[in-house]
């Protein structure tokens, strides 16, 4: 789960990071009064959970409260990578002598948290990694002893910091690490961490992604979820315990297992179709969950065919078939269905759908081909 800049800033501030705190505004007038309260020049920043908002015009400097209102007016309601901006953060503008990148991530190979920093801050770390990897300083955190002062110091020296800045950096790095650990984060980032003209360090942007699997032990964090950033379909699917992601194609996919679901999408594409979604019903799904999943798929008017691909292990084919049956009956849909159902209770499942208007496939590749054809013909054949 990703959270907004202003939310991440509130968390980081609790861990002692030096953050010039701003205010969130949902209307230009509120941006105006926030800027008045802050005093001096401010930055108006779109709060959206996608990258590249700066390039998209979602971050603007405003010298006066009036200007803050204008900029907020321009930013609120704009669309960045498909997401409508509903909130802006109005934050004090800060003079910048130097920009640093500081981030904590999970290193899968080392099975550890890694702290990454770069003297080239303010730009995308991926870009730095690609173009000037020597500018990135890393240190791996031993989980048994946590991030230690000496590690943070070494990184600070590696960034060319000196004197009191080293001490400030150590405090910031340790605070960020603790914020990461205490909140089950998968990413915690300050980019840029700026050196102000007076030499002090300030965190003027903040990003935090949370490990969905860890949310259960942080009940408060779940409230930070911005449901506006999900599609209605994704929200409903999540509520039903389904792994669902909206895509732009026209073949709805219902699959058990994440890997098989991806392979199904890939096969659809390979054989000329376009997947309309990723959908993993998980293991051992019952009929009602399957029916819910199909209702969500069929809500999308661009869906011209549905491919049900089940390799039954824990998941029982007859349960899936019953879910398909329920969905077909309830929705009365005319969209053609292609079913590929093998495994546990396969015979019972097939029997259950014997009368239904579905095409049958023996293999995934066959199913993908039939689905692509069904989009063309509007009929389920096979």
């Amino acid at each position: 789960m990703n959270i907004h800049e202003y939310q991440a800033k509130e968390i980081f501030a609790k861990y002692g990071l030096p953050i010039p705190m701003g205010e969130v505004a949902t209307t230009p007038d509120r941006a105006y009064s926030a800027a008045r309260r802050i005093g001096g020049p401010v930055v108006v920043k779109a709060q959206v959970l996608v990258g590249g908002r700066g390039k998209a015009g979602g971050v603007k400097l405003a010298k006066t409260p009036e200007e803050a209102r204008e900029k907020a007016n321009a930013i609120l309601g704009m669309t960045i990578k498909g997401i409508t901006v509903k909130k802006v953060l109005v934050a004090p503008a800060v003079d910048i002598a130097r920009e640093i990148y500081l981030g904590m991530v999970i290193d899968r190979a080392k099975k550890a948290v890694v702290m990454m920093a770069s003297a080239a801050g303010g730009v995308d770390i991926e870009e730095v990694a690609r173009e000037t990897p020597e500018k990135i300083v890393r240190t791996t955190v031993d989980p048994t002893i946590g991030l230690r002062d000496y590690q943070a110091r070494d990184v600070a020296y590696g960034l060319g910091l000196a004197g009191n800045q080293v001490k400030e950096f150590v405090q910031i790095a340790k605070g960020l690490y603790q914020a990461f650990m205490d909140n089950d984060a998968s990413l915690a980032e300050v980019n840029p961490l700026v050196v102000a003209p007076d030499g002090k360090l300030l965190a003027i942007d903040a990003k935090m992604n949370l490990d969905d699997s860890g949310l259960f032990r942080h009940p408060g964090l779940d409230d930070l979820r911005d449901e506006n950033e999900e599609s209605a379909d994704e929200r409903d699917a999540r509520a039903a315990g389904l792994n669902y992601i909206d895509l732009d194609g026209n073949i709805g996919c219902l699959v058990n297992g994440a890997g098989l679901a991806m392979a199904t999408m890939d096969a659809v594409k390979l054989f000329g179709g376009e997947p309309a979604n990723f959908l993993d019903i998980g293991g051992g799904a019952r009929a009602d969950k399957v029916a819910t999943a199909l209702r969500i798929i069929l809500r999308d008017p661009s869906v011209k065919a549905v491919l049900v691909n089940i390799f039954g292990g824990i998941t029982r084919v007859d349960e899936v078939a019953r879910g398909v049956q329920i969905a077909l009956e309830e929705t009365g849909t005319k969209v053609p269905f292609v079913c590929r159902l093998v495994g546990t209770n396969e015979a019972e499942g097939r029997k259950m759908l014997a009368g239904a208007n579905v095409a049958w496939a023996a293999t995934l590749s066959e199913a993908a081909q039939l689905a692509a054809r069904a989009v063309q013909t509007g009929r389920a054949e096979g």
Partner: protein
């Protein structure tokens, strides 16, 4: 022959009294696996499918000589269950539980390394040494004994490939699902090493997916060390970046983890790359000179 488990393996099932634990225990018993004990705190003294249940893994080890553990406990208790097994003298732990927090897995995997205990998973289907032993949830009917070693990040996709292989008369030595989480006990390379040394494994199938760079490192390992014909498949070629595709580990982020990079790494390492799961079996057939 096989890797990791065989007829001698003695399994304790942690969470045996739950719905899943009980069902899969019955499946494993049906497959011939020696499930010697179950463990559920507070249920010690009960019997489940004629298997004695204990309050602790230590008791199961002491009383029944369990050497391998299979874990079906909810995510919140999974880390504790894994650590208990390692602490009790179990040598191989297979964790099926999904949604285990990544920070828990960092703690657990480091502990296992220190103890010298092997962990498979979490969020994995376990493994099966065809015709000998199954520890996990891979459907019994998809496996047939034979020369193909399979290692995979995905469950159902593995079953799919095993099924396709079996239908073509290509059996498996051992099929290992390493799981879809970003931080896990056993990685591709760990299994590849074992297959490389296993005389019963003549061909290797490696099923990856988007996210991380495990496949790239595995490809390098294969190029440098493995002479056995290897077929690869990567799921998620059509996945959009920045979205978690079901598995916690299946996400393209920071320009890392793209299917195209993994496929290129496979090709560079001389691995035959299948475009869809059925083709995996076709390519193994070809490598075996049987197509």
């Amino acid at each position: 022959m096989s890797i990791l488990i065989n007829q001698a393996t003695k399994v304790v099932v942690q969470g045996i009294t739950g719905r899943e634990g009980q069902f899969h225990t019955s499946q494993m018993l049906a497959y011939g696996t020696q499930v010697v004990a179950g463990m559920t705190p507070g249920k010690g003294g009960q019997m489940v499918l004629d298997v004695p249940v204990y309050n602790s893994v230590a008791e199961a080890v002491k009383e029944q000589g369990a050497d391998t553990s299979l874990i079906f406990v909810p995510a919140a208790g999974a880390a504790d269950a894994m650590l208990e097994a390692a602490d009790a003298g179990i040598q191989f732990v297979v964790c099926i539980s999904e949604n285990v927090p990544t920070l828990d897995m960092i703690e657990v995997t480091h502990y296992f390394d220190r103890k010298g205990v092997r962990l498979l998973g979490p969020n994995c289907p376990g493994l099966i040494s065809a015709g000998q032993c199954k520890v996990g949830i891979i459907p019994n009917h998809v496996a047939t004994p034979g020369p193909v070693g399979i290692v995979s990040r995905s469950g159902t996709l593995t079953y799919e490939v095993m099924f396709a292989l079996s239908q073509r008369g290509l059996g498996q030595s051992t099929a290992v699902g390493i799981g879809g989480d970003p931080v896990k006990g056993t990685n591709f390379i760990d299994v590849l090493k074992l297959f490389n040394e296993d005389p019963a494994t003549e061909y290797i199938v490696m099923i990856g997916e988007i996210g991380g760079t495990d496949e790239e490192r595995a490809a390098e390992y294969i190029a440098a060390n493995v002479k056995k014909p290897t077929v690869g498949f990567i799921a998620g070629q059509t996945a959009p970046p920045g979205r978690r595709m079901g598995h916690a580990g299946a996400i393209i982020s920071g320009g890392e983890g793209r299917a195209e990079d993994k496929i290129a790494a496979f090709k560079k390492a001389g691995i035959a790359v299948a475009r869809h799961p059925d083709e995996v079996a076709d390519l193994v057939m070809k490598a075996a000179g049987r197509s």
